[in-house]
């Protein structure tokens, strides 16, 4: 009775006409949640113990007491020499893992000397054309000790092959090296749009990687199933969660259909979520993700190994939430988002830099981003207790609600025949595009607020120093790849490319011939050419 009265009161007091009480994804938020709302809540079933099924409270028993999350800042610009320097700077300052941003031509399978690459070389990431560049990128970085994440999708198999080749050259045991390739092609069709081949042959490349790594590089995370880009493209939190898990389901399905045992590859699947500004929505999303994935793996795919049930994930704060206006405000946004990711139980974290709506980050701004994580870890105390928000009436009801909404999408995608079919139909793409437009209209009408953009604007700009990539980078890199193409053993190159083509046409695992070609210093562009000949291209359906 009493609680109901409070609830009513709170609602009335706050029912000012124009303020909306919805999350950033436009989900209704209650004014007050009481024990009444959790009356039917079965904590044993819904939460379990940390480190145990269904992992709602985190995938490890002791969470950050045992080990803090990995602080992993995404970095890459200019040539391999430039990025190697940045990598070593970050490691010196306490970063615990590497994360590589490749430039657009590498992401799209073109060499730097390709005409299509003009203006893009080294600009939005590091230019990698061949094993020669990879050797420079990881120079003086012991790959047996440092874990490396590589944001690479269409040509993931090629960069993975180059990484293995560098590790072997360093004398590392490839059974011991660890890291992640993003390798998530489905979200490319959904959101990031950096595909190389049509979905079916792309899925084959991915299952080949699963199979190869399970045997040869067992500590490698063979995929990072990514909601990040889906969210950045404008989806809601629920869509991000649902489409990411639906992508995950599709990868497992393809792996199983290719004849792999689910527990042979599922433990190496990892995830990647966005952390946007709506604090509790994000925390609830991450808790729901773990519970849902555990159920999917155990019940749907009958996985027996608990490692197959765990939704291990990396988080990145939201780039799209940052503003070019009053850019110093971004420091606050990033800190709050990072805090939510930690309370959500992430395994590793990238904090954006304050200047990233304007350019790639400077060394100084990257340092603030890294220090933000260190402040959360060492000063705020939030990492001392496992899943500290569990049991909160609000957090638990919100976790349930997000889960419920996400299942609706997953069932819809099941009905369409799975994610590959759903993409073919344009269903998730349309949902994302509509959500993006809806949010933009809400901003336009002032129903949602972006501080400094549609409220609290100031005249004039805050001048900040930006990183500039000089035109000489492109020139240098083109010369470098051209020189390599002249210098190397052409007979070996031709033979390796021929072998790669034959393997691509066959049903054999493609990884050994990829590694062989990488070692012969075939360039990324040459390898992709061969694969395009066999697999064909994919065109943007351009849904608006």
């Amino acid at each position: 009775m009493f609680q109901k009265a409070i609830k009513k009161n709170v609602q009335q007091n706050h029912s000012a006409p124009k303020r909306s009480f919805t999350t950033i994804s436009d989900m209704e938020v209650p004014a007050l949640v009481t024990p009444e709302d959790l009356k039917k809540f079965n904590a044993k079933e819904k939460l379990g113990e940390p480190g145990h099924y269904p992992y709602t409270r985190g995938i490890y028993e002791s969470m950050y007491r045992g080990k803090l999350w990995t602080m992993r800042l995404f970095a890459g610009f200019g040539t391999a020499f430039d990025t190697n320097k940045r990598f070593r700077m970050l490691l010196e300052h306490g970063q615990t893992g590497l994360s590589t941003a490749f430039h657009m031509p590498t992401l799209r399978g073109f060499d730097s000397d390709n005409l299509k690459s003009r203006g893009e070389v080294g600009v939005a990431g590091v230019a990698i054309d061949s094993l020669e560049d990879m050797e420079v990128l990881f120079d003086k970085i012991p790959l047996e000790k440092v874990t490396t994440s590589m944001t690479i999708n269409g040509p993931a198999a090629i960069l993975f092959a180059m990484y293995i080749a560098v590790a072997e050259k360093q004398g590392a045991d490839i059974k011991k090296i660890s890291g992640t390739i993003q390798n998530d092609i489905l979200k490319e069709y959904l959101a990031q749009k950096l595909w190389l081949f049509p979905p079916k042959p792309s899925m084959r490349l991915i299952t080949d990687i699963f199979e190869y790594a399970a045997e040869e590089v067992p500590k490698w995370n063979t995929i990072s199933i990514s909601g990040y880009h889906i969210r950045e493209a404008g989806s809601t939190a629920v869509q991000e969660l649902a489409f990411t898990l639906a992508d995950g389901i599709e990868y497992v399905r393809y792996g199983v259909e290719a004849g792999l045992k689910v527990d042979a590859f599922a433990p190496r699947l990892s995830f990647f979520f966005n952390c946007h500004s709506d604090f509790f929505e994000e925390i609830a999303k991450m808790r729901a993700a773990r519970r849902m994935w555990a159920q999917i793996m155990k019940e749907r795919f009958k996985a027996k190994d608990p490692k197959s049930w765990m939704c291990r994930f990396h988080t990145q704060t939201s780039g799209a939430s940052l503003t070019a206006q009053q850019p110093l405000n971004n420091v606050a946004r990033i800190a709050l988002q990072a805090m939510a990711a930690v309370l959500g139980g992430t395994q590793s974290l990238h904090t954006n830099s304050l200047d990233e709506t304007l350019a790639l980050p400077t060394e100084e701004s990257v340092m603030v981003a890294l220090r933000t994580q260190q402040i959360i870890a060492e000063e705020t105390g939030v990492a001392h207790t496992v899943d500290p928000l569990a049991g909160s009436y609000f957090i638990e009801t919100m976790t349930d609600k997000i889960e419920e909404e996400a299942w609706k999408y997953i069932h819809k995608i099941d009905e369409l025949g799975g994610m590959v079919e759903a993409i073919d139909e344009g269903f998730p793409q349309r949902e994302i595009t509509n959500a993006a437009y809806h949010y933009e209209q809400q901003l336009n009408r002032g129903e949602k607020v972006q501080v400094g953009v549609n409220k609290y604007q100031i005249e004039g700009k805050t001048p900040i120093h930006l990183l500039e990539i000089g035109a000489e980078v492109e020139k240098k890199q083109i010369e470098r790849v051209r020189a390599l193409k002249k210098r190397r053993d052409q007979k070996k190159v031709a033979e390796a490319l021929k072998k790669l083509k034959l393997t691509a046409k066959s049903s054999e695992n493609i990884m050994p011939s990829m590694i062989h070609a990488a070692k012969a210093y075939c360039t990324l562009g040459e390898m992709c050419e061969v694969l395009w000949e066999v697999f064909g291209e994919y065109k943007d359906p351009a849904i608006i």
Binding site: G119, A233, A359, K539, I544
Partner: protein, 136 residues
């Protein structure tokens, strides 16, 4: 009789960040413009060809990869080569102020950067983009 203004929304370059281009395309359409959207991964050559084939009044170029300096200029050069001088270029994307100033001087009618409201963009188009003369 006036016809609706035809706008080409194009994405040159290698990146796939199409959220902005699509939101703007849709907002322009809702505001009564005739909008043609190219999809992503277009070369400067193919964009110019589409602009001519569709006989548009304005070309919008969205670039978020940092390659705006090269791509905007290239498209402007190609249009000039074809003898087109009355088809304004409007840019959008992550373009630092310094670059924006130079590009506006050289070839771009306007460049919209992150945080610009749809209202502002639509107003700009209504005010500045008119149907090209039918005599060309």
């Amino acid at each position: 009789m006036s016809r609706p203004v035809r706008v080409l929304v194009a994405k040159p370059g290698l990146d796939g960040h199409d959220r902005g281009a699509k939101v703007v395309a849709r907002a322009l359409r809702d505001a009564g413009f005739e909008v043609i959207y190219t999809g992503i991964h277009q070369t400067p050559e193919s964009i110019v060809q589409t602009a001519l084939d569709e006989d548009v009044d304005c070309v919008c170029l969205s670039v978020l990869s940092g390659a705006h300096n090269f791509l905007f200029r290239k498209i402007n050069d190609l249009l000039k080569e074809k003898g087109v001088t009355d088809m304004p270029l409007v840019g959008g994307g992550i373009v630092p102020d310094e670059d924006k100033k130079k590009l506006k001087k050289e070839c771009m009618l306007e460049i919209f950067t992150p945080g610009t409201s749809l209202k502002e963009i639509i107003q700009f188009f209504k005010k500045n983009i008119k149907p090209r003369s039918l005599s060309h």
